[in-house]
């Protein structure tokens, strides 16, 4: 007689129920803390004004004068992002090279010597400090120093992005194959030579794609910085939002989508060229 000893229930079931309950227990206090009440969206006092504002989005405002203004501010936003990124690169590239452990000469023969190790860790902490302050805060500080206008936006982006780019560049460089670089250093090449002949060829595509992605992020954050008076499309959007002018906001949002699409295309082209 055949006895079926296989369990009738899925043995994984208890574990899954437990994981689900545990997630709820963890997430629920966070939802309470953030006053997450999605039903207020549909309450009679908030729904009609919201729908009215969103209804204003169509049609987008397309008057020539306004379009000219939006195009100019868009250009200003892109310029702000690009200038900020360029300054950030000037800071980030040297710091990434200084922080990268694969370019250590003392580490060639075993453990890195104490002084270079401390120095590299110091550079990493500096990068952390730069990126742990949000660009909005940097912008508020610089608005006090240099006054309202794009300059404070550029400086804010430069500092925060230098921190982010420097950290990620150093990590990309360290994640590549270390052998070509080590071989060059062992045969007597300098650190920068080893970087250009050993590390850059294998990491250039990743570095470029990350840089273009960050440029796209910089365009978005320069728009946000406009809200605190750093100029550009954000400042216009802030004004339109305060006037509840949905059609103007819609035009500017469409402009943004165009910019992001453009950044995507640039990134794709560059990556294909470097593949």
């Amino acid at each position: 007689m055949h006895v079926n000893t296989a369990p009738r229930r899925d043995p994984a079931w208890t574990g899954r129920v437990f994981a689900l309950l545990a997630t709820l227990v963890v997430v629920w206090p966070m939802l309470v803390l953030t006053e997450f009440k999605p039903w207020t969206l549909f309450s009679p006092e908030s729904l009609p004004p919201t729908l009215h504002f969103l209804g204003d989005f169509f049609p987008p405002k397309l008057e020539p004068d306004f379009l000219r203004l939006v195009l100019f501010e868009t250009w200003r936003t892109v310029a702000m992002a690009t200038a900020g990124m360029t300054l950030a690169l000037f800071l980030a590239i040297p710091m990434a090279l200084l922080a990268s452990r694969t370019l250590s000469i003392s580490a060639l023969t075993g453990r890195m010597a104490l002084a270079p190790a401390v120095f590299r860790q110091g550079v990493r902490w500096l990068l952390m400090l730069l990126r742990s302050v949000p660009e909005l805060i940097w912008a508020l500080i610089f608005v006090r120093v240099v006054g309202l206008g794009p300059t404070s936006g550029v400086l804010a982006i430069a500092l925060t992005y230098a921190g982010m780019l420097g950290k990620v560049y150093a990590e990309i460089l360290e994640s590549g194959d270390a052998l070509p670089t080590q071989a060059l250093l062992r045969n007597g090449a300098g650190r920068l030579q080893a970087f250009f002949y050993g590390q850059l060829p294998q990491s250039s595509s990743e570095l470029t794609s990350y840089t273009v992605y960050r440029w796209e992020c910089a365009i978005r954050s320069s728009a946000v910085l406009g809200f605190v008076g750093a100029g550009g499309l954000g400042q216009q959007m802030d004004a339109s939002m305060k006037m509840f002018n949905g059609s103007e906001v819609a035009t500017m949002l469409l402009m943004f989508m165009g910019l992001v699409w453009l950044a995507d295309q640039v990134s794709r082209l560059l990556r294909e060229a470097l593949a």
């Binding site: 075993g110 052998l179 250093l185 007597g188 090449a189 030579q193 002949y197």
Partner: protein, 276 residues
Amino acid sequence: MKVTLTGCSAQHPAALAAAAPALKRLDLSLTQGEQVAIIGPSGAGKTTLLQVMACALKPMQGKLLLNQRDPWALRTPALQRFRGQLFLAPQVPPLPPRQRVITAVLAGLLPGMGLWASLSNLLYPRQIELAEAALARFDLADKLFDRVDRLSGGERQRVGLARLVVAKAQLLLVDEPLSALDPERARQACESLTAVAREQQATLVATLHHVEMALAHFGRIVGLRDGEVVFDLPATQVTSARLTDLYARHLDELTGKAPGVDLTLAHTPAVTMACL
């Protein structure tokens, strides 16, 4: 370059402290322009020995003298300048993907080049003929402007050797230069290596798995096992008995028949990558 090792013990920094060192109180001395092949079973310490001579690994005990000077007494920048006179070609050619063959070969010139010269060399290589001549020694001149990641394993290995040719170092240390080459290419590569060392009056040390190649092309043979020198003899005095003894526990690694040795091998491993 003259090389003198006295009582050198060494160990890879990642190895366990309790593990037996890869080199045990090893003595070895080479005169200028000498050509030496190091043979021995896997794990004998051949690669470690090369790394010690290349100043890539500091001996734990004992002394390394290069041209009667202790390189480890130098300060880091001076030591790094001095490393420009040494050339260590690792077994796996250290070529980054996407780099072109010409750049990979001319990278051998970096120690003698300023930063700006090396950058402009990336923009437009100025010593095309030099790279081409070096590649031609290994029958690879037609690949000059190809990308290294589009080459076969054997071609990549020969690009690594072409870099050694342009480096014009005084001490050439080559780790298993023939591991990815077919017999004919291996013979050609061996001849080119010894010829280059003779022309440049450099000392040449190569670790080889092909005992036959070592005996045919090198005047002096050092047999290494468990980090110790088993024999150090002119090639003509290396008898079959000594070889059988050297590879006693690893007879399958004695690839290619040494003179007079009759070993029945189940198969000949084409590439033995497992080396210290």
